[in-house]
């Protein structure tokens, strides 16, 4: 083989490499830009007081403590309601449902559920949880609303994780006289749990960033204190960010960006948790 053809091959390889690197850069650059821009503009507002104090002067001063707590509660509420329902639905759909038109309809509904705009979930929550179930504009109504939205994702990831459990495991259990339910409970669900959990956490962190749905079911700009029961109204980071950015005149820019940093860090934190779970289970 001539050295020129080898050179040519190296050249092609270098070019392909360069294109790939450029593509990666195009994906990563906006993210880095947003992060850098946000931090550069917002870091001056960050302080211990900002994280631990309630706001004053309509958010222009003080901190965002109640909004952080409200968002944490919303995330907890979302995972508490959507995880069990998602897992049960996933088990039913993969293990028990017959493959008939009803099942196919349900599957189609789940796919479409993921595409419903979030404000529509807000209106649904207002109609069902706030008014019909009479939960009022409250933390619990908002959690249920966000859970309804998260369900599409928790069901889908549960179902996929359950289906990914090797058939050999199930057969091994059934072949020693273990019942179907015991097999699901002791073999299938433990094997699927990292996948189920990562899906639920991702759905939860996505819920943390939702503004539109909570707007109509109980988020409020300023509360006197922290919610003392699930039936209280609450503050939340995305809604706070929306209000201070759009409705408060004379808002210091670094405070706005400070709120954004806190929100992003919370969401990123859970995404990192997910990545760690994935890494750990892949090693096994």
């Amino acid at each position: 083989m001539g050295s020129s053809s080898i050179k040519k091959r190296y050249l092609t390889q270098h070019m392909a490499m360069a294109i790939l690197v450029a593509a990666v850069f195009l994906v990563v650059a906006p993210i880095i830009f947003i992060l850098v821009y946000m931090i550069a503009n917002g870091y001056s507002s960050l302080s211990w007081e900002f994280l631990t104090q309630p706001p004053s002067q309509a958010g222009r001063a003080g901190g965002i403590f109640p909004a952080i707590i409200g968002t944490v509660f919303l995330m907890l509420g979302t995972i508490i309601f959507s995880l069990p329902v998602g897992v049960m639905a996933g088990v039913y759909l993969t293990e028990y449902a017959r493959n008939n038109w009803i099942t196919r309809l349900i599957n189609m509904a789940i796919i479409n559920l993921a595409g419903v705009p979030s404000i529509v979930f807000g209106l649904f929550g207002l109609a069902v949880f706030v008014l019909t179930l009479n939960l009022g504009m409250s933390l619990i109504a908002a959690s249920l609303t966000l859970s309804a939205q998260a369900l599409a994702m928790t069901i889908t990831t549960s179902r996929e994780s359950i289906m990914a459990v090797p058939r050999e495991y199930r057969e091994g259990a059934l072949a020693i006289g273990v019942s179907k339910w015991q097999t699901i409970r002791h073999i299938v669900l433990p094997s699927a749990s990292p996948g189920i959990l990562t899906g639920a956490i991702l759905a939860m962190s996505r819920a943390a960033g939702e503004t539109a749905p909570i707007l109509v079911v109980g988020a409020t700009f300023l509360t006197p204190g922290l919610p003392s029961s699930p039936f209280d109204r609450f503050m939340a980071l995305p809604y706070h960010l929306y209000t201070v950015s759009a409705h408060v005149p004379g808002m210091p820019a670094d405070v706005k960006w400070g709120v954004a940093i806190v929100l992003i860090v919370m969401v990123l934190f859970f995404n990192i948790v997910v990545a760690l779970i994935r890494m750990k289970t892949r090693k096994r």
Binding site: N99, P166, E168, Y169, E171, G172, A173, L174, A175, I176, G177, V178, S179, Q182, H186, I187, S191, R284
Partner: protein
């Protein structure tokens, strides 16, 4: 021996234990047919498996050996569209009769698969899995079962110091013996093995064959194998399956292994064991 009934309700159990067949017959098929949807996979099988014996099922791949084996513990129930007709008896009871408790049946007819399939849990938990699900909680009782089963499976000495390690961390041959121990732990009466050595090296294979000979003193074993030397080495009886013109598996010959291998009655058997096809 397990005296529980394989019926869901144990009433009139005795009357159902029909006086069919001969006393030492553990498993019996009579005009058994298996269909996958409209595909007639296994056709009109009649044979009888004696207690405490090893029966080998041999034949070219795709002739229905696995399918036939899975009829004995109703594993085909898991496949949508699979159906069985004819008579299939375990201890004189038709296992396809309505009211048969399939879970109890599989407890008494355990199965080992082609690919070793330990659960993703410790060696100890793998063996204790069946007994735990069947209600044994006492730690000491479980310890005893685990040790006994691993001994029986000739694996104890190799793993006794690492019972807490993952069942997936040991070699393929050890994994397969672990799967055998897992079956033994629930004290079945019959063990079905579907090409248990096909993924193993020759040394591991010999170990499993030794093990089968020992186990056959207490258990009734039915083994599918594509390895004819293996069938000749370990089995008492040999069933030779082949596909007919309609691609259905049929039983060409069934008899004592020595006769099937040295003096086959059917020309096709002779061709197969002398390596002329398949």
């Amino acid at each position: 021996m397990n005296m529980n009934s394989i019926f869901k309700s144990s009433t009139d159990d005795n009357s159902r234990q029909a006086d069919s067949g001969n006393a030492s017959s553990k498993l019996r098929m009579q005009h058994m047919n298996l269909y996958y949807g409209s595909f007639h996979a296994v056709k009109d099988i009649t044979l009888q498996v004696n207690t405490s014996s090893i029966t080998a099922i041999i034949g070219p791949s795709g002739c229905g050996k696995s399918s036939m084996l899975r009829v004995f513990n109703r594993m085909n129930d898991l496949i949508p569209g699979a159906s069985v007709d004819g008579l299939v008896e375990f201890d004189g009871i038709n296992i396809y009769e309505p009211g048969v408790d399939v879970v109890e049946l599989r407890k008494r007819i355990g199965m080992v698969f082609q690919k070793p399939n330990p659960f993703p849990m410790s060696i100890y938990d793998n063996v204790a899995f069946g007994p735990r699900r069947h209600g044994i909680r006492n730690r000491r009782a479980l310890d005893e079962i685990v040790e006994k089963s691993l001994m029986q499976a000739a694996l104890w000495d190799e793993v006794k110091d690492k019972l807490g390690q993952s069942g997936l961390s040991i070699s393929g041959g050890q994994q397969q013996r672990l799967c055998i121990a897992r079956v033994l732990a629930v004290e079945p009466e019959v063990i079905l093995m579907d090409e248990p050595c096909s993924a193993l090296d020759p040394i591991a294979t010999l170990k499993i064959e030794d093990l089968m000979r020992t186990l056959s003193e207490t258990y009734t074993i039915v083994i599918v194998t594509h390895n004819m030397q293996q069938a000749a080495r370990v089995s008492d009886m040999t069933a030779f399956l082949m596909v007919d013109d309609g691609h259905s598996g049929v039983l060409v010959e069934y008899g004592p292994t020595s006769e099937v291998f040295t003096n086959p009655r059917d020309k096709r058997t002779e061709d197969y064991i002398t390596g002329r096809f398949g």
